[in-house]
Structures are given as C-alpha cells and as structure tokens.
C-alpha cells in the first residue's frame, strides 16, 4: 500500500478508487440519464447484450459520468429489438429500435452529447412505463 503524504496523494488515491463507487453514486443521483436496454428473450436473441456492452464501452471511452445503463424486461417491441429507451430527467422518454452495431455509439454521440435525435431509429410514441 502506498503512503499518503499530501493532499495530492490523497486525490490520486481517490481518482484510482473512484470507479469502485461511480455506479453506486450515480444510482443516488436524480439528475441522471438512464438508458434502458430491453433484455427479454427476444432482445437478447437480437443482440441486446452486445448493445449493452457497446453502450457501456462508449460511456467509458467518453468518460461520461451522469449516465447509467440498466436492463429491463421485454418492452413489447419484438419486431424492433434490440430496443433502447433514453430517459432524461424532466423529458419524455425516447424509444429507439434496432440499435445494433455502431448505432449504440451513435446514440450516445448524437442524442446524449449533441441533443440530436436519431430520427430513423425512433419507435413511434413511447409508452409510459407503469413503474415510473
């Protein structure tokens, strides 16, 4: 174990340890963007797992801190799997379909970072989840 001899050392140690808590602190935050990936059987069959990983990977790559990716059950859009719902605080959720391959990365770059919708991937009106 390193000795901590200054505030700089402490902050370095904090930086190194930050990842341990990021997921937990994000969960407590109300101003967080949530990406919900449908992981029902058909979602998984259509590649939702890869989509999920790609989203995580992109978030890590861009060092985004105010965003979380969570799994949900089937959202009922089997024809458009894998589906990803973007829930931003204070906004209507947007549901995207067929998020495969580079689409996941594009979703984060365009929608999250630039506030641009991916028009051709949006699935109609988003339903309001009964859990919310």
């Amino acid at each position: 174990m390193p000795k901590i001899k200054s505030l700089e050392d402490l902050l370095k140690q904090k930086e190194a340890a930050k990842d341990k808590l990021s997921l937990r602190k994000i969960a407590e935050d109300d101003n967080i963007i949530t990406l919900r990936v449908a992981m029902g059987t058909c979602g998984i069959a259509a590649g939702a797992k890869e989509t999920f990983d790609k989203l995580l990977e992109t978030i890590e790559e861009k060092k985004l801190e105010n965003i979380r990716v969570i799994q949900t059950g089937c959202m009922g859009y089997c024809h458009a799997e894998p589906t990803v719902e973007v829930v931003e605080p204070g906004k209507e959720p947007i549901l995207y379909g067929k998020i495969v391959g580079d689409k996941a990365k594009e979703l984060i770059e365009k929608h999250i970072l630039n506030g641009e919708l991916l028009q051709d991937s949006i699935i109609g009106e988003t339903h309001t989840s009964i859990n919310e």
Binding site: S6, M39, I70
Partner: protein, 596 residues
C-alpha cells in the same frame, strides 16, 4: 463509470448478519462465478441500511432495486431474473404497510423519503472494510483541509456550525473543543464514547459498523484542533462486529499513513487505540468512562473539573459521541454554513433516531432536526401497527420522558424535547399505542435505572428504590393518593441531588408520565383499575353469558382450571383461582370474554 453492469449491495450490519446476509453474499458470488458473470456484477457487503426489520436487505444498482427479507436460497433467482433477464423479483420487493403497494426503489419508499444522511452518509453505500471506498467518497479530505488551517480556525468552524453533541446532553461541540484547546498541558487526549448503553439504541454501532473511518477522521481532526497526539475509542465488548471493523479501519489508516507520525507530511501525529468497556450503562457517563479507561471501577465523580481541563490521567481530554465525530468531516469539508442549512436554528444538522415500538416501520432513521414527531412516526414510521391509536412516544432512553399525542406537531430538537419534560438522549424513540399503561412504562425504565445505578450516591441508590416501591404499589392497586404526591417530591429531590446524569434524569419517565397522564395514575390509585388493561392485579376477566356459546375453548386453555361450565352452556371464571394470564381472552373467538 466502472465496467460492472451491476453492483449488488448486501447489508452487513449486525441485524442482517444475524439473519445470514453473509451466506447470501457467498451464494450470489458462487452463482455469478458459475455463470461467468463475476466480471459483470460486483457484490459488496456494506453497513446497515437502517431498515433492519425488513432485513436482510439486498440492493441492486444502478437501478436502485431494494429487496427485503432475502434468504440465502433466493440468490439463484436474483441472478437468473434480475441479472440475466433484467426482471425484478417481485416477491422480494417491499410492501408498503398502509397502501399495501409494492415499492421497488428505496428512494420511493416513505421510510427513506424524508431522511437526510450525514452521519450515516456511507452506511449502506460503501464497503466498510475498504479504505479506498471511503476515500473515493471524499474520505480524509476534511482531515487534509483541517491540517491546512490553524487549530483555532478548525475550532471556530466547529463553533460556527452549531453542532451539538449527539451523545445525549447536546453540549456545543465547538465550545467543548475550545475549552480543551485553551487548557494548559503538553499531553492531551481525544476520546470517542461508543458505549451506547441505552436499551434499544444502535445508532453508534451502525455508524462504526458501516463507516468506521468517519469516526477516525473526526477524531483526528479533533486531535489536531486541541493539540492531542493520542486517542481512545471506548466501545462495549458486546459489539464485536463494530470492534472488528473499527480495528481493521485503524490498521488500514495506519498503513496509508493517515494515522501515525507526520500525517499528510505535516508535523501532526495522531494514534488511536480501542478500549473495550464492560457494558455497564453508567460507564457511558464521561467521568465514569475516564475512570474505566484508567483501569478503575467505572464510577462517576463530581464535575467540575470537567474533562476538558482534567480528564484522562488528569490531562485535558475531549470526549465526544460516535455520531458527533461522524458529523465533523462534512462540516470541515463543506463548511459551517452548509451544516446550518440543515436542521433548526438552535439544533443544526441531522439526528439519527432508533425508531421502535408500535410503529409499522421500525429502524434507524437520520432526519433533519426540526422535523416533527408526527412526520417521523407517521410518514417515516408508517403509522401505528394494526391501525391502533397513538398514545405517546418515549424519547431519550431510560432518562427520557413520554410525550403525548397533543405534541405530535412539535419540531424535534434538543430544546423542544427538554421543554416537554423529555430529552433527546442518544436518540431512542419508542412509540406506544393505546394498549400501553403509563405507570407500567415508568416502572420499566425505573427498574433499568435502579439496576444500573453504581450506588455511589444516596439519592440514586436509595431514592430510586423507594420510587420503584411506590410504583409497584400503584401498579398492583395498593397505593393511596398521598403516594402520588410523595413520588413527585421524591422524584424532584433525586433530580436535584444525585451526583451524575444517571440519577439526575432517572425520575424523568415518572415525572413526565405523571404530568401528561395524571388520569391514568389516578385510575390506578382511586378506582383500582388499569385503563390500558395491562396491570395484572387491576384487571378482571369476565365471561359475558349472553355472548358465550359454550364452546369450551377457554376452559381448555386455562392453565389453572379457573373456568367452569358444561358444553353449550355459558361458562364462568372463578376469580379466586384466576391468575390473569389472559389465555382465555386470547382464545375466545366469540368476543365473550371481557377484560375490565
């Protein structure tokens, strides 16, 4: 963001540990490994979530799903459903007691909605055995900041924060530190009072189990402020898990150089040791605690001199409570102004309460001072069990008093509770319903004080025994109205003349219940009845001949064969034989037995 998809937090507090939370963790880890998911899901054992009654608690993040009453054999389903399929395991969700609704996230639960966690900021969030997790959540930054200030500035910040000691009396912490800072002496000490002798209280234990570094950091800051090099945590041996976590935290802090010589490269050095207490209530009193650390019998002595001038081995010493120390780092880091933005004018900040008794949601809650009793009992506590009527709330442990329904809207802080004849104490809050007998409650607390009295001074040693005798007469229907007056005078005399806080506060439960529930005392004395139906000698069980169908059920459960009658005929109770066990009353399905 870490590459884990889920963090699964499992409560490692004493309550949940005793209901096998450790095994839940092992099972989860094994199953995750089997399925090759151990790189995607991190399992962490944390401190107490406060909702111990619903334990063991398992929380999934980042979606915040809060599972309650989880059993080790549920691990497989949690992995299969939640982790793999992304579906919540409905049957393990919390059911809200009044609306009978399932609630999936802790944030949405009434129990958590009004809570603000300062002292418990890390309990239920971090792994208490990993100093890095504490550091990741700003740990030890307050110490670094304090060391860049002068000791006077640190004390000034504490004074401005208005923090009052959380161990009972509510003495201003900054002022106490200022006394010790000014006291002459090259050797000084910092002591943490983790004795927590109040029956039913477990806030200090939860802080130490869930976040031991917060106490260590607070103590180090105190040591710097007053010029101490050495500190002790006095903790009862009955708290093995807290002792273990604290010792581990001390070791880790030493390895990082956050305790020991030249902390943060300055010339400040501080070392910390644990002292195990014998588990006597009076040892929590500061002068008794000092005697106990010095190796003598834990008996109080007169004050002054106060410990700030003459404490451990005659040296200037500050003694603060666990929760008090846990508040120090946030104050230094975020400033006195921030702290004052929470709580009430004269009692800033938050307080942890152990909510117990007849409320639906029993547990540990941290709320801003100034919140009303009603909010705590009805909003957070979910109201009274079985929809009974609220009668009183007892605050302040054995030395506190009972507060009746008419004061439910009182904002809670040190001064309002004292004004109502009770006190804050360490934060016990026991809710009583209509089936509680107040003289009987007073007797319960007084018995505790009599048992725990050290016997050094006469008012406490003898006076309390006399009080107890009178209470015994009252609850058994042998008292006269003069006894009530006598009890009041005696109680007040003990308050004024006892040597230490134990004796000085022991009559509080009697005096406050006599004040608010005078009728009930008079009913016991004048009418020889117990309105709540608790005092055995004062109740009679009778069978209503009209209602009795002669099922014989009562006669069969009566342990002393006091019930006679033939089948399908009304029965009767022989009052001379009846020992008032209540078995018949509980058995009758026709409401034919009355308790008078």
């Amino acid at each position: 963001m870490s590459s884990y998809k889920y963090h699964v937090l499992i409560c490692g507090g004493t309550g949940c540990t005793s209901s096998k939370s450790e095994l839940i963790k092992d099972n989860l880890e094994n199953i995750l490994k089997e399925k090759g998911l151990d790189n995607e899901v991190q399992v962490v054992r944390t401190g107490c979530f406060g909702f111990c009654e619903q334990g063991p608690i398992v929380k999934f993040l980042p979606d915040n799903t809060f599972y309650v009453q989880v059993k080790p054999e549920d691990a497989e389903e949690l992995v299969n459903e939640h982790v793999i399929k992304g579906r919540k395991v409905e049957r393990l969700l919390y059911v809200e007691p009044t609306e009978k609704e399932k609630i999936d996230e802790s944030k949405k639960m009434p129990f958590y909605k009004k809570q603000i966690r300062v002292a418990l900021r890390n309990a239920g969030l971090i792994n208490p055995d990993d100093i890095d997790e504490y550091i990741a959540n700003d740990g030890y930054q307050a110490l670094a900041k304090a060391l860049s200030m002068t000791p006077e500035e640190v004390v000034e910040e504490m004074k401005e924060s208005g923090l009052r000691g959380r161990g009972g009396g509510g003495f201003p912490t900054g002022l106490k530190w200022a006394f010790a800072q000014r006291a002459q002496g090259d050797i000084k000490y910092v002591v943490c009072n983790a004795d927590e002798g109040d029956p039913g209280a477990f806030m200090d234990r939860s802080v130490l189990e869930g976040d031991p570094h917060s106490v260590i950091e607070g103590m180090a800051i105190a040591a710097y402020a007053i010029g101490a090099k050495k500190g002790f945590v006095y903790i009862r041996a009955e708290y093995p898990l807290a002792v273990k976590r604290l010792q581990n935290a001390i070791n880790q802090a030493k390895e990082y150089g956050l305790l020991g010589e030249n902390i943060f490269g300055t010339d400040f050095s501080f070392d910390l040791e644990i002292r195990l207490g014998a588990g006597a209530f009076v040892c929590g009193e500061e002068t008794a605690l000092i005697a106990s650390i010095e190796g003598y019998r834990g008996e109080p002595r007169t004050k002054p001199p106060f410990p700030a001038n003459k404490g451990l081995w005659g040296k200037p010493t500050i003694i603060n409570n666990v929760e008090t120390f846990a508040n120090v780092s946030p104050i230094i880091l975020k400033g006195a102004k921030w702290f004052r933005s929470l709580g009430s004018e004269k009692s800033p900040g938050t307080k942890v309460f152990a909510l117990a008794g007849k409320v639906n949601n029993v547990g540990l809650v941290e709320v801003p001072m100034g919140i009303t009793l009603r909010e705590v009992i009805f909003d957070i506590g979910g109201g009274i069990r079985e929809n009974r009527k609220f009668k009183a709330v007892q605050t302040g442990g054995p030395s506190g008093g009972c507060i009746p329904a008419e004061y439910l809207d009182t904002p809670i802080d040190f001064d309002t509770l004292t004004a109502l004849g009770s006190m804050m104490g360490s934060g016990g809050m026991i809710v009583m319903d209509e089936n509680t007998c107040m003289p009987d409650v007073a007797k319960f607390y007084l018995e505790f004080s009599v048992e725990e009295s050290c016997g050094k001074c006469t008012p406490c040693r003898i006076g309390n025994v006399r009080l107890l005798e009178i209470l015994d007469k009252i609850t058994s229907g042998r008292a006269t109205i003069e006894d009530l007056d006598r009890m009041k005078i005696l109680g007040e005399t003990i308050k004024d003349s006892a040597l230490c806080g134990l004796g000085q506060t022991s009559p509080n439960p009697i005096l406050s219940t006599m004040h608010y529930f005078k009728d009930e005392y008079e009913a016991h004395v004048l009418d020889r009845t117990c309105p709540a139906g608790v005092c055995k000698n004062l109740i009679t069980y009778k069978i209503d001949k009209e209602k009795c169908v002669g099922c014989t059920a009562c006669a069969r459960v009566c342990p002393v064969e006091a019930i006679k009658g033939s089948i399908k005929q009304p029965h009767e109770i022989d009052q001379d034989k009846c020992i008032k066990c209540g078995a018949c009353y509980a058995t009758c399905r026709f409401g034919a037995i009355e308790k008078i």
